[in-house]
C-alpha cells in the first residue's frame, strides 16, 4: 500500500492547480471547474487520512463535500446564465461594477 504522503502530495498539487485556475482564468466555467478541483483535492486528503487511520468520519465528510459542490455548481451556473443575459458576456473581468 502506498504511504499516505503520496496522496497528500497529490492532493496538494491538485489544490494548487485549482487555486491557480481560480485566480488566473477569466472564464467563470473554468473557474468553477478549478473550484471543483480544489474541493476534490480536499476530498482526496479526507479519504487518504480516513484510510490511513481506519476511520469512517473522513469518508462521510467527502459525501457532504460532494453534495455541497453539486449544489454550488447549480447555483453558480444559474448565476452565470443570469449574468450572461444581462451583459451578453461571462468574462469575470468585465463584471467590475462594484469598483470603488
Amino acid at each position: 500500500m502506498l504511504p499516505v504522503i503520496y496522496y497528500i502530495g497529490l492532493s496538494a498539487i491538485l489544490f494548487t492547480i485549482g487555486a491557480l485556475g481560480v485566480l488566473i482564468r477569466r472564464n467563470p466555467i473554468v473557474i468553477f471547474m478549478s473550484v471543483e478541483l480544489m474541493l476534490n483535492s480536499a476530498n482526496l486528503a479526507f479519504v487518504a487520512f480516513a484510510r490511513a487511520f481506519g476511520e469512517l468520519n473522513g469518508q462521510i465528510f467527502v459525501f457532504f463535500v460532494m453534495t455541497v459542490a453539486a449544489a454550488e455548481v447549480a447555483v453558480g451556473l444559474a448565476l452565470i446564465v443570469a449574468i450572461f443575459r444581462s451583459k451578453h458576456s461571462i468574462d469575470v473581468d468585465q463584471m467590475n461594477t462594484l469598483k470603488g
Binding site: V22, L23, V92, D93, L98, K99, G100
Partner: protein, 719 residues
C-alpha cells in the same frame, strides 16, 4: 423738706434711663401725631409744644431726683441698662454714670432745655408763619426732643463709646436744626450749606476724638471711665507719650464740638437755625460737650501738663480772638455767636488748666445767660418782624414811606441787622429788661452770675497760667464792650427804621421763660460763692483733686474795672457819637461809629479776619481742585477712559477675538474638519482596493489564508 429727705435717703439712681426715655417718648408721640410738613397735623400746635416741653420737663424732674439722691449718697452709682458690645475681653455696656458731674450736666441740659422748649412754643408759632410752612411746627419739636435725648446719652454714658454715641447724636440734631429752613437762606441753599459746614467741620474734630478712643482702647484695653482713670497713672508712667497723644486728639474733638480755634468757623454760620436752636444747642448745651469731655477726662489731662498748657492756650486765644470779631458784627445773632465762641474759650481754658470747678461753674452760668441772650435776641427779631409786618400791611404808611423814598420790602430788610434797630427799649420792655440782665451777666458785672464764674476762672488762671490770664482778661474787656454796643444799638437811641418803630412785645409764653432765665442769670452765681464753695464741694465727689478757686479781690477789681470802662467806651461811641451821626443825611452817615475811628482794623474785624476766606483758599480750593483732578484726570481719563475702556474692555475684546478666531475657528474647528478630511483621505486611499475584479478579491483571500497557514506552520515548527 420731708420730701427732699425721703429722696435723699432713697437711692433713686435706677431712674437715670428715664432722662433719655422721656424725650424719646415725647419725640415718638410727636412723630406719629405731629403730622408731616405740608399736611394738617392731628394735634394742635399747643399740644405738640406741650408734649415736647413735658418730655423735657419730666427729664428735668428725674435729674432733680437724681441730684437729691446724690446729695444723700454723693458717691453716685453706675446703672447698667443692657449689654451692648462684647468681643473677647472688650465689654461695653450701655451703662449710666450718675455722679455729681453728669447730674450737673443733666440739670443744665434738661432745665435750660425745658425753658427753651416752652419759649419755642410761642417763637415757632410765629416763625413757621413767617416762613410760610406751619406744617413744620411738629418737626421742630421732634428734633428738639431728639437733641435732649442725644445730649443726655452724651452726659450719662459711663464709657467713652457711649459718650461718642451721644456726641454724634447731638451733631446730627445740630445739623438737622441748622438746616431746619433748608430751602431758605442765601440763594435758597444758604441754610443747607451752613448745616453741611457745621456737620463737616465738627466731623474733622470727631475724627480726632475717635482716634483718641482707639488709642485709649489700645493703651487701656477698655473704654470705661473708671477703668481708664484707675489705670491712667500706671500707663502714664510706662508710656507718657500715649497719654499726651490721647489728650491732644481729644482736644481736636473738643475744638470741633466746642467751636475753638481752628475749627470754630461753623458756629457763626449755625445761626441759620431758628433762634431757640441757637440758644439751646449752639450756646447753652451742645457746644459745652467739649468742655464736659475735658472735665470728665480730667484724670488724663492732669497727667500731662503739656496737653493742659495747649488746651488752656487754645481756649485763651479763642476767647480773645472771637471777642474781637464780635465787636464788629452787625447781625444780632452773629454777635452772640462769636460771644459764645469766646465764652467757650474761657471754659476750655479753665478745664484745660485743671480748674475743673471753675470751668463747669462757668458752663452752668453761661448756659443761663447765653440762653437768655439768644432767646431775647429771638424775641427782638420777632418783634422786628411784627413791626415789618405792620408796616407792610399799613397801606397809608407804606405810601408815605414810598413818597419819602424809603422802599420797604422783606427782601431788602434784615430784621436781624442791629443797624435797622434802635429805641426798642420803650416798645419791648420785658425783652429789654431781661436782655440787659443777660448782657450784664455776660460782661461780668457784680453780682450777676457771670461775675462769679468768670472771676473764678481768671483767679485760677492767674495762679497757674499768667499768659492765659492776660488773654482772658483782655477778652473780658471786649466782651463787656460788644455787649454794651449791642444793648445800645438795639434798645437805645431812636428807632432807625420804620419796623423798629413799630416793633411789638411778644406773648407771655415767650417772655416768662425769659424772666425765669434772667432770674437764674442773676442768682446763678450763688452756686459757688466764695468761702461757701457749694459747687466745688459738690464736684469734689467726682474729682478728688478739685479745688475751690480762692477769691482774688485784685482780679475781681481789675476785671470789673475793665468791664465798666468797656461799657463806658461803648456808651461814648454808641450813645453819644451814634446820635450825632444820625443827624447826617443817610448817604453820608457811617453805619458804625467805630468804623471811622478804627478804619481798616474795623473792616478786618467785620470780615472776621477773613478766616473763612483763608480756609477756602488754603483748604477748600486745593481740596476742590484735588477732587477735580481725581475726578476728571485720575478717575475720568485714567481710570475710566484708559484703564476701563482701553485696558479692560480692549483687553477683553482682544482676548475674545483670539479665542473666537484662533482658538475656536482655528483649533476646535480644525479638529472637526481635520477628522473629516482624514477620513475622506483614508476613504480615497482605501477605495483603490475595491477594484471590482473578483479575482483580485480571491487572490487577497488566498494570500490571507497562506499567511495564516504559514504562521501556524511556523509556530508548530518552532514549538
Amino acid at each position: 423738706m420731708a420730701l427732699i429727705q425721703t429722696a435723699q435717703s432713697l437711692q433713686l439712681f435706677y431712674l437715670v434711663p428715664w432722662v433719655i426715655f422721656f424725650p424719646v417718648i415725647g419725640l415718638l408721640v410727636n412723630i406719629i401725631l405731629g403730622g408731616k410738613p405740608g399736611t394738617k397735623p392731628l394735634l394742635g400746635e399747643k399740644v405738640i409744644g406741650t408734649i415736647a416741653s413735658l418730655a423735657s420737663g419730666l427729664s428735668f424732674v428725674v435729674s432733680v431726683l437724681l441730684a437729691l439722691s446724690l446729695s444723700g449718697h454723693p458717691e453716685g452709682a453706675t446703672i447698667t441698662l443692657l449689654e451692648w458690645i462684647k468681643i473677647g475681653t472688650l465689654q461695653i455696656d450701655w451703662a449710666f454714670r450718675v455722679d455729681t458731674l453728669s447730674v450737673t450736666m443733666m440739670l443744665v441740659v434738661s432745665g435750660v432745655g425745658t425753658l427753651i422748649h416752652i419759649y419755642a412754643i410761642g417763637y415757632m408759632h410765629a416763625d413757621v408763619r413767617h416762613n410760610d410752612d406751619p406744617g413744620r411746627y411738629g418737626r421742630f419739636f421732634v428734633f428738639m426732643n431728639l437733641f435732649i435725648a442725644a445730649m443726655m446719652i452724651l452726659v450719662t454714658g459711663s464709657s467713652y463709646l457711649v459718650l461718642f454715641v451721644g456726641w454724634e447724636g447731638v451733631g446730627l440734631c445740630s445739623y438737622l436744626l441748622i438746616g431746619f429752613w433748608y430751602e431758605k437762606g442765601k440763594d435758597g441753599i444758604g441754610n443747607a450749606i451752613a448745616a453741611k459746614k457745621a456737620f463737616v467741620t465738627t466731623r474733622i474734630g470727631d475724627l480726632g476724638f475717635l482716634i483718641a478712643i482707639f488709642l485709649m482702647f489700645w493703651a487701656f484695653g477698655s473704654l470705661q471711665f473708671e477703668t481708664i482713670f484707675a489705670k491712667a497713672a500706671e500707663v502714664a508712667a510706662a508710656q507718657p507719650g500715649i497719654i499726651l497723644a490721647i489728650t491732644l486728639f481729644m482736644l481736636l474733638g473738643v475744638t470741633g464740638k466746642s467751636a475753638q480755634l481752628p475749627l470754630y468757623v461753623w458756629l457763626p454760620d449755625a445761626m441759620a437755625g431758628p433762634t431757640p436752636v441757637s440758644a439751646l444747642i449752639h450756646a447753652a448745651t451742645m457746644v459745652t460737650a467739649g468742655v464736659y469731655l475735658v472735665a470728665r477726662s480730667n484724670a488724663l489731662y492732669s497727667l500731662v501738663p503739656e496737653a493742659q498748657n495747649i488746651v488752656a492756650l487754645v481756649g485763651g486765644i479763642t476767647a480773645l480772638f472771637a471777642a474781637t470779631i464780635a465787636v464788629a458784627q452787625f447781625d444780632i445773632k452773629k454777635v452772640l455767636a462769636y460771644s459764645t465762641i469766646s465764652q467757650l474759650g474761657f471754659m476750655v481754658a479753665a478745664v484745660g488748666m485743671g480748674a475743673t470747678v471753675a470751668g463747669m461753674f462757668h458752663l452752668v452760668t453761661h448756659a443761663f445767660f447765653k440762653a437768655l441772650l439768644f432767646l431775647s435776641a429771638g424775641s427782638v427779631i420777632q418783634g422786628m418782624e411784627q413791626g415789618l409786618h405792620h408796616v407792610e400791611h399799613d397801606v397809608g404808611l407804606k405810601k408815605k414811606l414810598k413818597n419819602e423814598g424809603v422802599f420797604m420790602s422783606e427782601h431788602h430788610f434784615d430784621p436781624q441787622d442791629m443797624r435797622n434797630m434802635g429805641g426798642l427799649r420803650s416798645r419791648m420792655k420785658v425783652t429789654y429788661a431781661v436782655y440787659l440782665v443777660g448782657a450784664l451777666a455776660l460782661a461780668g458785672i457784680f453780682p450777676l452770675a457771670g461775675f462769679w464764674s468768670k472771676d473764678e476762672i481768671l483767679a485760677d488762671s492767674l495762679a497757674t497760667h499768667p499768659t492765659v490770664y492776660w488773654l482772658l482778661t483782655i477778652a473780658a474787656f471786649f466782651t463787656a464792650f460788644y455787649m454794651g454796643r449791642q444793648i445800645l444799638m438795639v434798645f437805645f437811641g431812636k428807632a432807625r427804621t420804620e419796623p423798629a418803630a413799630h416793633a411789638q412785645e411778644n406773648p407771655p409764653v415767650m417772655t416768662v421763660p425769659l424772666i425765669l432765665l434772667a432770674l437764674l442769670a442773676v442768682i446763678g452765681g450763688a452756686l459757688n460763692l466764695p468761702s461757701l464753695h457749694t459747687f466745688a464741694s459738690w464736684l469734689e465727689h467726682t474729682f478728688p483733686t478739685a479745688h475751690a478757686g480762692e477769691f482774688n479781690i485784685v482780679v475781681a477789681l481789675i476785671s470789673t474795672g475793665l468791664a465798666l470802662s468797656a461799657i463806658f467806651f461803648a456808651w461814648m461811641f454808641y450813645s453819644l457819637r451814634y446820635q450825632e451821626l444820625q443827624r447826617l443825611p443817610f448817604a453820608k452817615r457811617p453805619d458804625d461809629p467805630l468804623r471811622s475811628w478804627l478804619g481798616p482794623v474795623f473792616a478786618v474785624l467785620e470780615n472776621k479776619y477773613k478766616i473763612d476766606e483763608l480756609y477756602k483758599l488754603v483748604i477748600l480750593d486745593p481740596y476742590v481742585s484735588l477732587a477735580g483732578f481725581l475726578a476728571q484726570i485720575v478717575d475720568g481719563r485714567f481710570w475710566h477712559d484708559w484703564f476701563h475702556d482701553v485696558v479692560i474692555a480692549g483687553g477683553f475684546k482682544l482676548l475674545t477675538r483670539v479665542l473666537a478666531v484662533r482658538f475656536d475657528l482655528g483649533f476646535i474647528d480644525g479638529i472637526a474638519n481635520g477628522l473629516a478630511r482624514l477620513s475622506q483621505a483614508t476613504a480615497a486611499g482605501m477605495r483603490r482596493l475595491q477594484t471590482g475584479f473578483v479575482r483580485n478579491y480571491a487572490l487577497a483571500m488566498f494570500l490571507g489564508v497562506v499567511l495564516i497557514l504559514g504562521y501556524l506552520i511556523v509556530r508548530v515548527i518552532a514549538l
